[in-house]
């Protein structure tokens, strides 16, 4: 682990830029975040996810065919592939939003396998949609979700979560009035509320301006540095790929390339970028 940490920081030095002024990046957990949520393996460890023969069928269409992977704790995985390759489906299944038609999904933290009740507390998802209510304020949204996640002192927790994403001043404003970048930041605050050990991002950079993308990239490297397991689907080259440790390419629901837990992800990422450009030209 220490060796790869040094290697990781090289990539971070190459790819991440300075954070936009005035905005700090959020953390997955810190000792000041209230009492422990009963996790094993220390406050900063990530979840291990194992997919065994996962299939997902929608009607007659196979969205995923026999995906078998193991993603270890602390990995930062980029899922690449065109639209319809199964990236979103895989993320949804990992988030327990969709059930696989076949196959098994196991989560473990440290050495113990987790039951499904445990898991939802430990997963944060940032999806295509922002997953917050337009007709509530930023703070009300976070308080609501903090309560649903059974977090102690939801109001304080919500206020704390707004600060790292730079929305503290807009806490009492309706989400309806937010810009795209602010909405994305609130979505991330929501995902981080319960100090998750596994973060799922579905094309997080989509619709963000370059400054927003920089901030996102810096955020991801901070989270990764804290040991959170991250799985993110991405489309082409952007700022978010700085902390990636592994790249997996999906095509038509199958894994075609996997750089593996110790390999070089940039080969796969480059291949995916080339493929997408070629297809874009062909159309």
């Amino acid at each position: 682990m220490p060796g790869s940490a040094a290697a990781r920081s090289n990539y971070c030095a190459n790819w991440s830029r300075a954070e936009p002024s005035g905005v700090s990046t959020p953390q997955t957990s810190s000792p000041t975040n209230g009492p422990s949520d009963g996790r094993n393996g220390g406050p900063n460890s990530g979840l291990t996810v194992r997919f065994s023969g996962i299939e997902k069928r929608y009607g007659m269409r196979m969205a995923l065919r026999g995906v078998s992977l193991e993603i270890g704790a602390g990995e930062c995985v980029a899922l690449v592939g065109h639209n319809g390759s199964g990236k979103t489906t895989l993320l949804k299944i990992t988030a327990l939003l969709a059930r696989p038609s076949k196959g098994q999904l196991t989560f473990s933290s440290g050495n113990s396998t987790l039951s499904s009740d445990d898991i939802k507390h430990r997963i944060g998802m940032v999806a295509h949609n922002i997953l917050v209510y337009d007709e509530l304020t930023a703070e009300e949204n976070l308080v609501f979700f903090a309560k649903l996640f059974n977090l102690p002192d939801p109001v304080a927790r919500a206020r704390q979560s707004l600060e790292p994403v730079g929305l503290s001043r807009r806490a009492s404003d309706m989400v309806r009035t937010f810009s795209r970048g602010m909405r994305q930041r609130l979505a991330i605050a929501r995902a981080l509320l319960a100090s998750p050990q596994l973060l799922l991002f579905d094309e997080p950079a989509a619709g963000l301006d370059p400054e927003g993308q920089q901030w996102l990239g810096a955020t991801l490297s901070k989270l990764h540095a804290q040991g959170c397991t991250i799985i993110m689907s991405t489309h082409g080259r952007n700022e978010t790929q700085g902390s990636v440790t592994r790249a997996i390419r999906l095509e038509a629901g199958e894994v075609t390339h996997d750089s593996g837990p110790n390999g070089d992800p940039y080969g796969v990422l480059a291949l995916a970028a080339v493929r997408e450009t070629a297809e874009g030209d062909a159309r």
Partner: protein, 224 residues
């Protein structure tokens, strides 16, 4: 998090959202008023005629209003896919349905209670002496309306033509509630006023059957 606690949290959120804008409540109240006025042109609202036709028209108005007002219940959750956010939380999926059912019940009951005195004045019906049993009938009927309506709102949200679909699904299923509530109300307006045990038991059975069905099968509607 326990089912009751999660339901209460979701109920609070629904109430907060609605009472902030009050647009749904306001619109529904005006809609029922329009229906009540229009109905007045279809018969001669003398006291005895009103007692015969009034309850049926009132309940019909409530059913129509309900089938329109229950639409947004799940449609709202589609805007930013907040339904997924709810399903990500470690709560019993049924609490999502239950919270919305409770909220819809309260909204509908509020609309009905506001319109009851208006109706009484416009149609010359004395409701004060029978207020308590009348509210009981209202509540039992509204539970049936809110329960089935919320479930069907989740059904319609997944289909096309959902504005038209919800009344299409809801009204036939609620026909027994219409019959029972109307008859019970007519009984109350008779002289001497009588509260029919048959219809009350029937309404309660309807509510129990569909609450149980919603509990057993409702969550399937939330899955992907």
């Amino acid at each position: 998090m326990s089912l009751v606690h999660a339901t209460a949290t979701i109920l609070a959120k629904e109430l907060r959202t609605e009472f902030r804008s009050r647009e749904l409540l306001g619109t529904t109240i005006v809609f029922v008023l329009i229906v009540i006025v229009l109905f007045s042109f279809t018969f001669n609202p003398t006291s005895s005629e009103s007692r015969r036709f009034g309850p049926g028209l009132l309940w019909l108005a409530f059913l129509f209003a309900g089938s329109l007002m229950l639409q947004p219940s799940f449609l709202r959750e589609q805007t930013n896919d907040t339904l997924a956010a709810l399903r990500l939380a470690p709560i019993d999926p049924f609490s999502i349905l239950a919270g919305k059912m409770a909220a819809n019940f309260l909204f509908l009951l509020l609309v009905e209670l506001i319109l009851l005195p208006v109706f009484a004045v416009l149609y010359n019906i004395a409701i004060f002496p029978i207020l308590a049993p009348l509210v009981l009938v209202l509540a039992l009927g509204t539970i049936g309306l809110a329960t089935t309506g919320t479930v069907f709102s989740a059904v319609a949200a997944q289909a096309r033509l959902r504005e038209l679909l919800l009344p299409l699904l809801l009204l036939p299923v609620l026909a027994p509630v219409l019959i029972a509530s109307t008859e019970a109300t007519v009984g109350l307006l008779r002289d001497p006023s009588e509260l029919s045990p048959v219809w009350l038991t029937f309404l309660t059975s309807f509510d129990v059957v569909f609450l149980t069905a919603a509990w057993l099968f409702g969550e399937y509607l939330l899955e992907e």
